[in-house]
């Protein structure tokens, strides 16, 4: 099973035994109250230089309030897993938080492209699917998973994948390296104080992200009792022992939506789009929505307002299946 081709993109693979040792000592087995303010969660668990992953989308069930808090705390040299994200790469990059990005999808607007063109942000090429598969590998505690994607492309050349001859069929196949983010950010619909969490609707990879990440911060629309969790075990997307911090963040996906709870804020996205090609405008955007407010709560009070919140809730008329 010789290596026929090896991508030259920047990436690291965690030693599976070092990862296990971390999981053994750092992941609490006892059910302890993990509810804390966003500021404390980010202060405790997001360090300069960390690899940060995100689930699910900028438009839907994304941990937007946590991303804003990371920018507010001015973390630096982060590497970001841009799988199915649209605004976050730009916000983190223009906020000065990023060293590099696993692409995924490099959204949205021309600023982020400019940052790459000028070499201010490094990128490693992947795809939405293989980046998500790398999270599954990380979640399984194996160093790689095989896929037929990436083959024969420049995407593979600038990725961290390796092409090998499959020992069973003798055919070429790509192996993508596991990713074990230092921090995974997942917004959920409901969870208890220990972190037993429920995501409703389709999603990219909430469980894989929580399993693969060394630290998992979840923000939640609602905190419910563990008794309720135990009455519907099939609804538990993420079990408590994978979770390090629980942040109570109603409307935490804004400007994105949370299915069945509130719709996304299209006006806000248009405002973002208008700023996404101009550094000054983006600085003003970040000033307005991130730096000039102390918290998500203040963001809601001063930058969104009750009227908009009620309107976005009103727009969430489709609730079927989101419970």
């Amino acid at each position: 099973m010789d290596v026929l081709q090896a991508g030259i993109g920047e990436f690291t693979v965690e030693d599976p035994d070092d990862l296990r040792a971390f999981m053994r000592t750092e992941k609490r087995r006892e059910m302890v109250d993990k509810v804390m303010p966003e500021a404390e969660a980010v202060r405790r668990y997001v360090k300069d230089g960390d690899y940060v992953s995100f689930d699910f989308s900028s438009f839907t069930r994304g941990p937007a309030s946590l991303v804003r808090e990371i920018i507010r705390q001015r973390r630096q040299n982060l590497w970001f897993a841009a799988k199915f994200t649209l605004m976050e790469s730009t916000l983190l990059a223009e906020g000065g938080c990023l060293r590099g990005i696993d692409v995924g999808f490099l959204g949205l607007g021309s600023l982020i492209g400019k940052a790459v063109e000028e070499g201010r942000i490094k990128v490693t090429e992947w795809t939405n699917g293989t980046l998500t598969l790398r999270h599954l590998a990380g979640a399984m505690g194996v160093p790689f998973l095989p896929t037929r994607n990436l083959l024969a492309t420049d995407t593979l050349t600038y990725s961290g994948a390796k092409v090998v001859q499959d020992p069973f069929t003798r055919r070429p196949i790509a192996l993508v390296s596991a990713v074990n983010p230092d921090v995974g950010l997942v917004h959920v619909h409901q969870c208890d104080i220990y972190g037993n969490a429920r995501c409703f609707g389709p999603g990219v990879s909430p469980l894989e992200t929580a399993m693969a990440s060394k630290r998992t911060i979840i923000s939640t629309e609602q905190i419910i009792t563990t008794d309720d969790i135990r009455k519907e075990p099939a609804k538990t997307t993420i079990p408590y022992y994978l979770v390090d911090a629980v942040v109570y963040a109603p409307f935490g996906c804004l400007p994105g939506g949370a299915q069945g709870v509130y719709e996304m804020d299209t006006e806000h996205f248009l405002e973002y789009m208008a700023a996404s090609g101009d550094a000054q405008k983006m600085a003003a955007y970040l000033g307005k929505y991130v730096y000039s407010v102390a918290s998500h709560e203040e963001f809601l009070a001063k930058r969104v307002g009750v009227e908009k919140l009620l309107d976005l809730k009103r727009q969430a008329t489709i609730t079927e299946g989101y419970h």
Binding site: S57, T127, T147, T155, E320
Partner: protein, 265 residues
């Protein structure tokens, strides 16, 4: 001129919709393909099963279409199943997805797509684009891929600056299979704002199959950097029908956010 009755986007969407067969499992990319899929479902393909990379299967999207939406409730409405990305791409890899529908930035004569960068040197791109997203998976795994692209010379190049998603590679017979890509897959049709292309079974070169009524073959092919093959009998492509335009403008996108406005509006 006839164009003023409809926008380029409207024609691209209608062409794309017409090419989506009923009763098939179809992987829908972000943007125009979403609109095209809804249009097809409203017209001739009510039993087509839409699948999305975030895991929705068989949803019946609500209209009007809300800009930016993809994983949201309106787009996932009344789905048959809500799964996740690893599951849906696994099913595509298994050979369960008949057609993939994708937008693209740049395409070459063998149907290879570039959505990553422009320039000769990857480390110093002249222009950086978003990258693959899920396009690489779709072009690798779906049995057929339908590409929707605006017909501009700079988009139709002899060779892509960066091969993001695999077409027929260098066009040699069996090139995809040799690389380990699934057998008998690859780009099938390219629907543009002016024309429709396929690919030659042997040389794998792009072949002009049809042009929009009112346009000549020359008007179309001059808008490409490479010389496409031209089918003996080039089909005349019907502009958007009143019914198609009605559904697009009244039901799907009354705000004209995606389909745009004509000179007359």
């Amino acid at each position: 001129m006839i164009q003023s009755d409809f926008t380029e986007s409207e024609f691209m969407i209608c062409q794309c919709a017409r090419l989506i067969e009923d009763g098939k499992i179809v992987f829908i990319g972000y943007g125009l393909p979403q609109i095209a899929a809804i249009l097809a479902q409203r017209l001739h393909a009510p039993r087509m099963v839409q699948v999305y990379e975030f895991g929705a299967v068989g949803s019946l999207p609500e209209t009007p279409f809300v800009r930016f939406t993809m994983g949201g409730p309106r787009n996932c409405y009344r789905a048959l199943a809500w799964t996740n990305m690893n599951t849906i791409f696994a099913q595509a890899q298994l050979g369960m997805v008949d057609l993939g529908v994708l937008g693209a930035t740049q395409i070459d004569q063998f149907g290879n797509l570039n959505s990553t960068m422009l320039g000769a040197d990857y480390t110093h791109p002249e222009k950086r684009f978003p990258g693959s997203g899920g396009a690489n998976e779709v072009m690798t795994q779906c049995w057929r891929t339908l590409i929707v692209i605006r017909h501009e010379r700079r988009r139709f190049v002899k060779q892509v600056d960066f091969l993001t998603s695999p077409g027929y590679l260098d066009g040699t017979p069996g090139a995809r299979e040799r690389a380990g890509l699934p057998r008998d897959t690859g780009p099938w049709r390219v629907a543009t704002s002016k024309a429709l292309y396929g690919f030659d079974d042997h040389t794998r070169q792009m072949v002009l199959l049809g042009v929009l009524r009112g346009l000549s073959v020359d008007e179309v092919v001059k808008e490409m950097e490479f010389t496409a093959l031209v089918k003996e009998k080039v089909e005349e492509l019907e502009p958007p029908t009143p019914e198609e335009l009605h559904i697009l403008r009244e039901e799907i996108d009354p705000a004209r956010a995606i389909i745009g406005k004509t000179a007359r509006d």
